[in-house]
Amino acid sequence: MGGNDKRKRSESEGGDEQAMEKKREILPSMIKNKEKRSAIHAKLKQQKKLEKRKKAKARDAAEKRALELGEELPAKKIPKTIENTREFDETVCKPDDEELFAGNDADEFSSILKRERTPKILITTCRFHSSRGPDLIKELLSVIPNAHYYKRGTYDLKKIVEFANKKDFTSIIVVHTNRREPDAFVIIGLPTGPTAHFKLSNLVLRKDIKNHGNPTSHEPELVLNNFTTRLGHRIGRSIQSLFPQEPNFPGRRVVTFHNQRDFIFFRHHRYIFEAKETKQTESKGKKTKDAKGESEPQGKVIARLQECGPRFTLKLLSLQHGTFDTKGGEYEWVHKPEMDTSRRRFFL
């Protein structure tokens, strides 16, 4: 019933719109007189607003009727976003791809991810760094277990790679600072692993986060979101190999790398499960119904998050095959301006 009505209405609206379009062949932007132009523009805007309101009202009414009649609610429309209209990418990993798994077994990180080697991270900086750089490194040391800070001095990065190989490090992280602000991030897998070069932005340090927590020394849990393509998969594995593979769950620490539109968001949280009094949990709309349905006196267990540690955003600039070598290096992936052909094309 409701659906039919709605369709009719939408049809009639469509008819109206067509008629309207016939009438207004002159767009407001084509009118040269400013007063007229703005008047017509305002009128159009008002019309649009009314239409929108009408639509929303109709939708609400349909929903309400469906609720009253006990019918199924009309399906909620999914808004179009850049992510879900993403351009088709054939490199997206498929779960039934045996070559992918064979490739995983053969790649540089598999020995760490299979727990044959324990990750040991060397953190260093660029030649000169100050102010926010050291602070970030202090916080990274608390985020990543088994991380060791070494002063950069005046050593070449290639020399540092050699040194770290001798000392059985599994990865090197270099934080690059420009004008007292960290702006780049390099992750080098050792001994042969790839070198990922990121741009670092939107850094918020722990002390600038309101109500921040202080992390414990437990091994964190790791959340990697949306690393879908082959390249993303590889980056995800390189990030995964920075952390120990067995999280210490009593520590309730989570480190998140969330990829969205090729930007990797880093967050560090501590979570807690709390048995709240029912009164406080009922303050949220839909949950109240559930709670009532259960009607259990001891109340609900809810998860609360407390953010601790830094917050920053990474964007991949290049992925190099082999360890750091700017001159003779081979790139697996480099960002080139010619690749930015669409907002809906993503690489990770």
């Binding site: 179009k80 209209t85 351009e87 088709f88 054939e90 490199t91 791809d97 045996e98 070559e99 992918l100 064979a102 490739g103 077994d105 053969a106 082959r230 095959h321 001159k327 003779g328 290096g329 081979e330 790139y331 697996e332 992936w333 480099v334 960002h335 080139k336 010619e338 690749m339 052909t341 669409s342 907002r343 809906r344 094309r345």
Partner: protein, 429 residues
């Protein structure tokens, strides 16, 4: 509606390409089809994924009857396959006698001889392998058809060519008498394969104006034409492309820079003066080597190091592959991307199987009027103009050309090309 940017790939002529990757897989890509607009697809996959079988070098000998394909793997075996169905003919171990692990001394160059190198029975094949540390060997094998067992005839020769450095590139010229190699701390060498003697060594360029000497590090090399072993092109790690002429001098005749990352592959065109250069960050360009001028870049969102370039023997098509795990096919004349195939692994090598187009013609000779051929003919009228121009230019820049015989060879080559075109026409009739 979302704006999309899917590249309109015009498709490519019927061809068959073989790619080799880091998991030891061999994939066969075929474009068979109508009107030259075929979409290439992976037709077959040979082998099981195993990282120790990573393909390091490959060489094909595609005669019409009984073609052979040689593949060198990281675990030190050299396999000889049938490129039509992937059957293993035989496999030999490349392990040397002095107890060096094959993983420590991987194969850097492999060549399967088309001609009979050493006078032997008809069913034999001859392999030249060259390892990174400089152990070269020529071995002949007799292929016994029923069982895939191999009897190595006694005529194997092994000699050492390395002098401390590691060899990265090697090539055998068209007449298969000369062998070219170079690498990290190894200058370009030309060896005579009959006598296994070094006949020529290059000399590093002088220090620059600041007194800085760039260490020798060749990454790729190719002979300029099939008939001429005296001229070859080499790419270096310091993003330089150099033309050497054995008969002129030991220093490069021409050298020029290309972009800012190491040159990873060079390939020659059939015309004998165009070369294709691919580098470590995925840039591909063609150069006229007589003048060192850039003819144009191949643009197509290519983002991974280009490991291998192959020129199709008949169609104006090149194939590239590399670390971005795409096989890309390009039109040489328009420098347009014809199509790209995602092959999931880091690729190391690509080869064309050249008799495929003929087969296709036989299969579908009724509808054999490929428009691409027409295109080729249509465009065929423009290049001669260019060629004329370039000849005039050449007359001016005689100093750049150290050899006078070249012109003839180029012309010869052009003539041949015309012939081949004619023959293709005849095929269609």
């Amino acid at each position: 509606m979302p704006r999309t940017t899917t590249l309109d790939c015009p498709g490519c002529p019927p061809l068959r390409a073989l790619t080799f990757d880091e998991l030891g897989l061999i994939k066969v890509i075929e474009a068979r089809g109508k009107q030259g607009r075929a979409e290439p697809k992976v037709v077959e996959r040979w082998g099981d994924p195993d990282s120790s079988k990573c393909v390091l070098a490959a060489s094909i000998h595609d005669r019409k009857s009984d073609p052979l394909l040689a593949v060198a793997r990281r675990n030190g075996t050299v396999e000889v396959l049938n490129p039509l169905n992937g059957d293993l003919r035989f496999a030999v171990s490349n392990a040397s006698n002095n107890g060096v692990q094959p993983e420590d001394d991987p194969v850097a160059g492999l060549h399967l001889f088309a001609k009979k190198k050493l006078e032997l029975a008809s069913r034999s094949c001859t392999l030249l392998t060259c390892t990174t540390k400089g152990n070269a060997s020529i071995r002949s094998f007799e292929v016994n058809k029923p069982s895939a067992d191999v009897s190595s005839t006694g005529s194997s020769r092994t000699w050492s060519i390395g002098d401390g450095g590691s060899i990265l590139c090697s090539k055998v010229d068209g007449s298969e008498n000369y062998f070219l190699l170079g690498g990290k701390r190894v200058e370009m060498n030309v060896w005579d394969l009959d006598s296994c003697a070094k006949i020529w060594t290059s000399k590093p360029p002088p220090k620059n104006s600041l007194g800085i000497f760039t260490p020798t590090w060749f990454t790729s090399a190719t002979f300029l034409s099939k008939d001429d072993h005296r001229k070859f092109v080499a790419g270096t790690n310091s993003h330089e492309v150099r033309l050497y002429d054995i008969s002129a001098q030991r220093r490069p005749v021409i050298s020029f820079d290309f972009r800012e990352t190491a040159i990873k592959s060079v390939a020659e065109d059939l015309d004998g003066y165009t070369i294709y250069v691919g580098n470590g960050s995925g840039d591909l360009a063609s150069f006229d080597i007589r003048t060192g001028k850039l003819l144009g870049c191949f643009l197509g969102k290519c983002s991974g190091s280009i490991r291998s370039i192959a020129r199709h023997p008949e169609f104006p098509v090149i194939a590239t592959c590399g670390l971005d795990s795409y096989l890309r096919l390009w039109n040489v004349k328009t420098r347009q991307l014809l199509s790209a195939v995602h092959l999931k692994q880091h690729l190391t090598n690509v080869l064309f199987y050249s008799n495929f187009a003929d087969e296709e013609a036989e299969v579908a000779h009724s509808a054999a009027d490929w428009p691409l051929h027409e295109d080729e003919r249509g465009e065929g009228e423009t290049p001669p103009m260019k060629r004329k121009k370039s000849k005039e230019k050449k007359g001016i820049e005689k100093d750049a050309e150290a050899k006078s015989g070249n012109k003839e060879s180029f012309e010869e080559y052009g003539g041949k090309k015309v012939k081949s075109k004619k023959s293709s026409k005849r095929l269609k009739m």
